[in-house]
């Protein structure tokens, strides 16, 4: 789950990572009195907000209301701005980069810092980047801050500030089950303080049961995806025409790949998961039908999810939702014969080979 900048900064505050003074508004009448120059920042989950016009400055009192009016409700790329962070403008002397992320390759948290901040870290040359994998059994130790500070070329005072920030970021990374805690830029102000001018915090969805304080709707999800996820399905909307129901994430992905290679674009990803229940199949149809596909493909390899259970679900769904679209079913594996019989008894054909089913369903969308 991606946190908004202001949510990340609230966590930063709780972990004693310095952030600029500021507040969040979702309407113009919640603006506070102008006391010093501020930055008005759209709270959307989009990299490069600044370049896309999502950030405005109010150096004088009369500039604040227009900036807020401009941004609130504005559409920036695919995002509608619903909240603004009004934040004290910093006296920026220098910008740095610092993050802690999961290094999947090493299966360790990795610390990344750079004296070149304020730009995408991918664009910074390697010799300007300090990377250090952290042994999770050792956890955070003070020497890590010293090593990073030495690379950054910090004096004793900045080294102490930087090490403290790094230590607290690591505590946040661990305690909030983060995939990423990033500060870019980390600003050195005119009076010699390091301040987190931005925040990017990504929390592992699977850990949310122990972080009840975080309950974002993921704004990157469509309403239908959200509905499906709440019902427990892995579901992704795509821009093709063929509705897909399959079992197992790998097989579902393979199904989409096969459709695409056959020039039949899928409308969605839907994985029935590993539960053997007719109701789950019926509800899956409900979701796929809401996506208004031109044709439907059901691709099942029976294991824990048995073919006859799926067949019964297909029959019930066809009646319940009065499905008009052409539907192609492939059944193979555990209780395949029983499943096929149920379908045949209800006038539905079923392939045994996946590729035949792919070809068939693609033929329907090509005809249309």
């Amino acid at each position: 789950m991606n946190l908004y900048e202001y949510q990340g900064k609230q966590l930063f505050s709780r972990y004693n990572i310095p952030v600029p003074g500021g507040y969040v508004v979702d309407s113009i009448d919640k603006l506070k009195k102008f006391e010093h120059p501020v930055v008005v920042k759209s709270q959307i989950l989009l990299g490069g907000r600044g370049k896309s016009g999502g950030i405005k400055f109010a150096r004088k009192p009369e500039e604040l209301v227009p900036a807020v009016k401009d941004l609130l409700g504005a559409k920036i790329r695919d995002y509608t701005v619903k909240q603004l962070l009004i934040e004290e403008m910093l006296d920026i002397k220098k910008e740095f980069y610092i993050s802690i992320a999961l290094n999947r390759t090493e299966r360790k948290p990795v610390i990344i810092t750079s004296p070149s901040g304020g730009v995408e870290i991918e664009t910074v040359p390697d010799d300007k980047i300090f990377r250090k994998n952290l042994d999770p059994l050792l956890g955070y130790s003070a020497f890590l801050g010293k090593e990073a500070s030495s690379f950054m070329g910090f004096d004793r005072d900045l080294s102490a500030q930087f090490s403290k920030i790094l230590q607290q970021m690591y505590a946040l990374f661990i305690e909030y089950d983060c995939e990423l805690v990033e500060v870019n830029p980390l600003v050195l102000t005119g009076d010699g303080k390091l301040v987190a001018a931005d925040s990017k915090v990504v929390v592992d969805n699977d850990s949310l049961f122990r972080h009840k304080d975080l309950n974002n709707e993921d704004p990157e999800k469509t309403p239908l995806e959200r509905e499906a996820n709440e019902k427990g399905y892995s579901f992704v909307e795509l821009d093709g025409k063929i509705g897909v129901i399959a079992n197992g994430a790998g097989l579902t992905m393979a199904t989409l790949d096969a459709l695409t290679l056959h020039n039949g674009k899928p409308r969605n990803f839907l994985d029935l998961g590993g539960t053997d229940s007719t109701e789950i199949v019926v509800n899956a149809f409900d979701l796929v039908l809401k996506a208004k596909p031109t044709a439907i493909l059901v691709n099942i390899f029976g294991g824990v999810t048995k073919c006859d259970t799926v067949a019964a679900g297909i029959v019930e769904a066809k009646k319940t939702y009065n499905i008009k679209q052409p539907m192609v079913v492939r059944l193979s594996g555990v209780r395949e014969d029983e499943g096929r019989k149920i379908l045949t008894d209800n006038g539905i054909d079923a392939f045994s080979e996946m590729m035949k089913a792919i070809e068939k369903v693609v033929s329907y969308v090509k005809v249309n």
């Binding site: 999961l102 999947r104 390759t105 299966r107 360790k108 948290p109 991918e122 042994d135 999770p136 059994l137 661990i174 089950d177 995939e179 592992d204 969805n205 699977d206 850990s207 049961f209 122990r210 990157e220 892995s234 992704v236 795509l238 399959a246 079992n247 197992g248 994430a249 790998g250 097989l251 579902t252 992905m253 393979a254 989409l256 790949d257 096969a258 459709l259 695409t260 290679l261 899928p266 990803f269 994985d271 590993g274 390899f301 029976g302 294991g303 824990v304 999810t305 193979s332 594996g333 555990v334 080979e353 996946m354 590729m355």
Partner: protein, 286 residues
């Protein structure tokens, strides 16, 4: 247990009284696996499907158990794994999905420094036809043969194994690594085993988008591969859009890393033929 599982593998099932644990313990016994104990606190002294149930893994060690299948809800997986580590279990397979990856990270490093093998989480387990099965793969799809399969997914693995069996081949070992971004065994770990195993003459790797384990495996094949063993790969997620998780937590293309193209290119450069469709795999093994 040099080769993940063998005739001496004795399995305890943590969470045996749960729906999944109960069902799959039964299936494993049907396959011939020595399921020697179940664990379910407060059920000491009872039996479940003929399997003796204990309060703790430590107590269950009296049965000679050396491997565990963990099938408890995600929030309790770390505790279950630590209990198994503490008791002296040598192979930990975690069936559970949605385990927080920070928990897996800790479990992985704790097992790794102690020489304990970790399989999963969120994978179908390991099967050696005629020898032993730990996990949830369907019993019917296997035949003893010379093909070793390692995969990051579940059902797709069954699909491919089934195709391999149907086309006249058979399997030495099938290993499901798990669909999470952090799992216990990687393609390189299993490649080492497959190359060392004299019975394995063909190798199938079923990868997917996300991470760079496939690329590392390709490099390993170039540097350490045994050319007498043919390696075939299949990669899912060619059609996946950037930034969307395709079911598996690990199957996501982030910042340009983890694309299917990159993996297919790496395997091709390593002389590994990459199948376009699952059904094409057996043909490439010939």
């Amino acid at each position: 247990m040099g080769y993940i599982v063998d005739e001496n593998t004795k399995v305890v099932v943590q969470g045996i009284t749960g729906h999944q644990g109960s069902f799959h313990a039964g299936e494993m016994i049907k396959f011939g696996t020595k399921v020697v104990a179940g664990v379910s606190p407060g059920k000491k002294g009872t039996q479940h499907n003929g399997i003796p149930v204990f309060d703790s893994v430590m107590d269950a060690m009296s049965t000679g158990a050396n491997a565990t299948m963990i099938s408890v809800p995600a929030p309790y997986v770390k505790d279950a794994a630590y209990e198994a580590i503490d008791a002296g279990i040598k192979l930990i397979y975690i069936l559970t999905e949605h385990v927080p990856f920070h928990d897996t990270l800790e479990i992985f490093h704790q097992t790794n420094v102690r020489g304990i093998r970790l399989l999963g989480p969120n994978g179908p387990g390991v099967t050696r036809p005629g020898v032993c099965k730990i996990g949830i793969m369907p019993n019917q799809i296997f035949r003893k043969g010379d093909v070793a399969v390692a995969s990051r997914s579940g059902t797709l693995t069954y699909e491919i194994v089934n195709a391999i069996t149907q086309s006249g081949f058979g399997e030495t070992t099938v290993i499901g690594l798990g669909g999470d971004p952090v799992v216990g065994m990687t393609f390189i770990d299993v490649l080492k085993l497959f190359y060392e195993d004299p019975e394995t003459r063909r190798i199938v790797l079923v990868g997917e988008i996300g991470g760079n384990n496939e690329e590392k495996a390709a490099r390993y094949i170039i540097e350490h591969g045994d050319k007498r063993k043919k390696v075939v790969a299949y990669i899912t997620g060619r059609s996946a859009p950037k930034g969307k998780r395709m079911g598996h937590a690990g199957a996501i293309i982030e910042r340009g890393v983890g694309t299917a193209e990159s993996k297919i290119k790496a395997f091709t450069e390593a002389g590994v033929k990459v199948a376009d469709y699952p059904d094409d795999v057996p043909g490439l093994l010939k």
